[in-house]
Amino acid sequence: MTTVTNGVNVQALLDAREALKKSPEAAQFVWRASSKWQNGVHTTITVKDFYGLGEERAHKSESVFQADHPEVFAADDNGITPIEYLLVGLASCLTAGVASVAQNRGIQLRSVEATVEGRHDIRGILGADPDVRNGYNDIKVTFNIDADASREEIEALVAQSQKRSAVFDALTNPTDVTVEVA
C-alpha cells in the first residue's frame, strides 16, 4: 500500500484506544465554554480549558466566538446565531471523522467539502404555535469528496464517520441537560 497522507495520526488514536480500554477513568473528559452577555441578543463565548486524561488541560490558545442574530430578527448581527453553531459542530465533527477513517483505511483524500442545512420553523421559539418545536425540524449534510476510492468506499467513509461522531450522536439522541443558577 502506498503511504496515505491525510494528516491524521491514526496510530496515536489506535494506541489511545488500546490504552483507554484498560483505564476507562482516563477517558473521562469535560469540555467547557464560558459565555458573557454583551447587549441585546449578542453574547461572547470563550473556550480554552478542558479536563482529560486525568488532569486539567488547555488549548494552545483561547478561542472567542460571537453569537448574535441577524437583522431580520431585529438584532445587530455581531455573529452567527446559536443554532448555527450546531451546524458548525456537526460539519467539523463529521469531516474529522471522514479524514480519520480514510487514513485508517488507506484512502488518500484530495478534497472534502460539506454543506449543512438545518430546516427550522421559528414559530416554535417565538411561541407562535405550541405544536412547533424550538429546534431544527431536520438537518441535511451533503458531502462532496474527491479521493482515491470508489463511490461505495466513499459512502462507507461517510457512514462510519457518522457512526463514530460525537456531535452526530449529541444531535440525534437525547442528552440530559441541567441548567441552574449559581
Binding site: 461505495e152 459512502e155 462507507a156 457512514a159 452526530f168 444531535l171 440525534t172 439522541n173 437525547p174
Partner: protein
C-alpha cells in the same frame, strides 16, 4: 453430560411457536449425523429441531444426565468441584456448553415504561394471540425483531419497529440460499484469530433472516411494505414518551453498504472458483427506504402502544460459575474455547468461538474436535 431439563431443553421451552431455523436443512448436521429428510432446502420447525437433537442423543449414545441443574462450579485441587441439584461431582476438566442466549437482554430504559404497557421478551412470547390487542413496539431489528414484527403485523396489529445497528441479508442470492454462500465461499470458516475486530464479530446481531417454505426475504423494505413503521434506536424515556434516535438513515446506510460488500465477496469467489456459470446473474437490492419523516417521540401513555417486545438480544448466565473467568461485560474470557486463566476449563457453542460458523448447528464439529484435542493433551491422553 449434564442437562438441567430434557434433551433439547431450550428448544422445547424458550422458543416462540412459529420459529424455524435460519439455516437450510442440508446445513443442519451434527458429527456423523447429516440431514436425511426429503426437503434439503427447507427450514426445520422448533418441533423438528427438538426431534433432530433427540435422535442425535440416541445415535451418539452421549451419556446425558437429564434433570441435573448445575448450581455452582468452583476450582478444586486438580480440577473442579461441581454442585448440582442431584449432588456433588469432582472432575479434572470441564466444558461449558450452556450457550450465549440464557437470558434475554432488556435495557435499563424499560424501567421508565408506564406500568399499563405489557412488556415481553422472546422467552415469554409464543404467538400474537397471547398479547393484548392494540399497538406493539418491537425493539431491535435482528432476526428475532424482524420475525416478530412481521408476525404481529400480520395479526392485524399496528407495529412500530425500533431499529439500531443491524445485519441485512437477502434470503436467496443468485438463486442460492444466502447461507449456502456463507458456507461455500469460506466466510463461515474464517477463524477467530484471523478476524481483525473479534470483539465486534462476537457481538454481531443475528442477520435479518427467516426460514419459510417460500424462502422469502424479510428485510426492512419488506416490513415497510407490510405497513410496519420504522423508528430509530430507542434512546430514552422522558416525561412518559419514548425518544428515538434521529440517526436511522445511517443505520440503513451501514447495513446496505455492508450487505453489498458481502455480496461482492460472493461474486468474486464465484468467478475465482469457476462457479459463476452454475449460479444466477449478479443481483443488487433496492437500498433500504427511509420513512419520509421517522417519528422521534411516541407518547407511551396515550394508548397507542399496548405491548413492548424486547428483541434486544440475549446474554449468557454464568451466575453459577464461581471461578474468576468472566469479564466485566459478563462474557467468558477464552482463547478459541480454551479458558486459559483456568486450566482444564473449556467452552463450546459461543459466537465466533473458533470460526464464524461456531454458533450454527453445523459449526460444532470442527470446534469440538479442536477444543477436545486441547482437553485431551491437558489430561495427557494419547490422541
Amino acid at each position: 453430560m449434564l442437562e438441567r431439563g430434557e434433551v433439547a431443553n431450550s428448544w422445547r421451552r424458550e422458543r416462540w411457536d412459529s420459529l424455524r431455523l435460519l439455516t437450510p436443512n442440508w446445513q443442519t448436521r451434527l458429527p456423523g449425523f447429516p440431514y436425511q429428510g426429503s426437503d434439503p432446502d427447507g427450514y426445520m420447525t422448533v418441533a423438528e429441531v427438538t426431534e433432530f437433537i433427540e435422535r442425535y442423543a440416541a445415535f451418539s449414545r452421549a451419556p446425558v444426565r437429564t434433570g441435573v441443574n448445575v448450581t455452582s462450579v468452583r476450582r478444586a485441587d486438580d480440577g473442579y468441584h461441581v454442585t448440582t441439584s442431584q449432588g456433588e461431582i469432582r472432575c479434572r476438566t470441564l466444558v461449558i456448553a450452556s450457550g450465549a442466549c440464557n437470558r434475554p437482554v432488556v435495557p435499563g430504559l424499560s424501567e421508565g415504561v408506564p406500568p399499563e404497557i405489557e412488556q415481553v421478551t422472546p422467552f415469554d412470547y409464543r404467538e400474537p394471540g397471547r398479547l393484548p390487542d392494540g399497538g406493539v413496539l418491537v425493539v431491535g431489528a435482528s432476526a428475532t425483531g424482524v420475525q416478530l414484527a412481521a408476525e404481529l403485523r400480520r395479526s392485524g396489529r399496528p407495529v412500530i419497529l425500533s431499529v439500531g445497528e443491524h445485519v441485512r441479508l437477502p434470503r436467496v442470492y443468485r438463486g442460492r440460499d444466502v447461507l449456502w454462500w456463507m458456507d461455500v465461499s469460506g466466510v463461515w470458516d474464517q477463524r477467530y484469530d484471523e478476524i481483525e475486530d473479534l470483539t465486534r464479530a462476537r457481538r454481531l446481531p443475528s442477520p435479518q433472516l427467516v426460514g419459510t417454505p417460500e424462502r422469502a426475504t424479510l428485510d426492512l423494505n419488506t416490513l415497510t411494505g407490510m405497513g410496519v413503521e420504522l423508528v430509530g434506536r430507542w434512546a430514552a424515556v422522558r416525561d412518559g414518551s419514548a425518544l428515538f434516535s434521529g440517526g436511522l438513515r445511517n443505520m440503513f446506510s451501514l447495513a446496505d453498504l455492508k450487505m453489498n460488500r458481502l455480496l461482492g465477496t460472493f461474486d468474486e469467489w464465484a468467478v475465482t472458483h469457476g462457479r459463476d456459470a452454475e449460479v444466477g446473474p449478479v443481483e443488487r437490492f433496492e437500498p433500504t427506504r427511509p420513512p419520509a419523516s421517522p417519528r422521534l417521540r411516541i407518547d407511551l401513555r396515550g394508548g397507542e402502544i399496548r405491548t413492548i417486545v424486547w428483541a434486544t438480544g440475549f446474554r449468557p448466565d454464568y451466575s453459577w460459575l464461581h471461578v474468576p473467568v468472566v469479564d466485566d461485560k459478563g462474557h467468558l474470557r477464552h482463547d478459541g474455547g480454551v479458558v486459559t486463566d483456568s486450566p482444564g476449563m473449556y467452552a463450546l457453542g459461543l459466537p465466533v468461538l473458533r470460526r464464524r460458523r461456531s454458533t450454527f448447528i453445523n459449526g460444532i464439529e470442527p470446534d469440538a474436535r479442536e477444543v477436545i484435542d486441547h482437553l485431551a493433551r491437558h489430561l495427557g491422553l494419547p490422541r
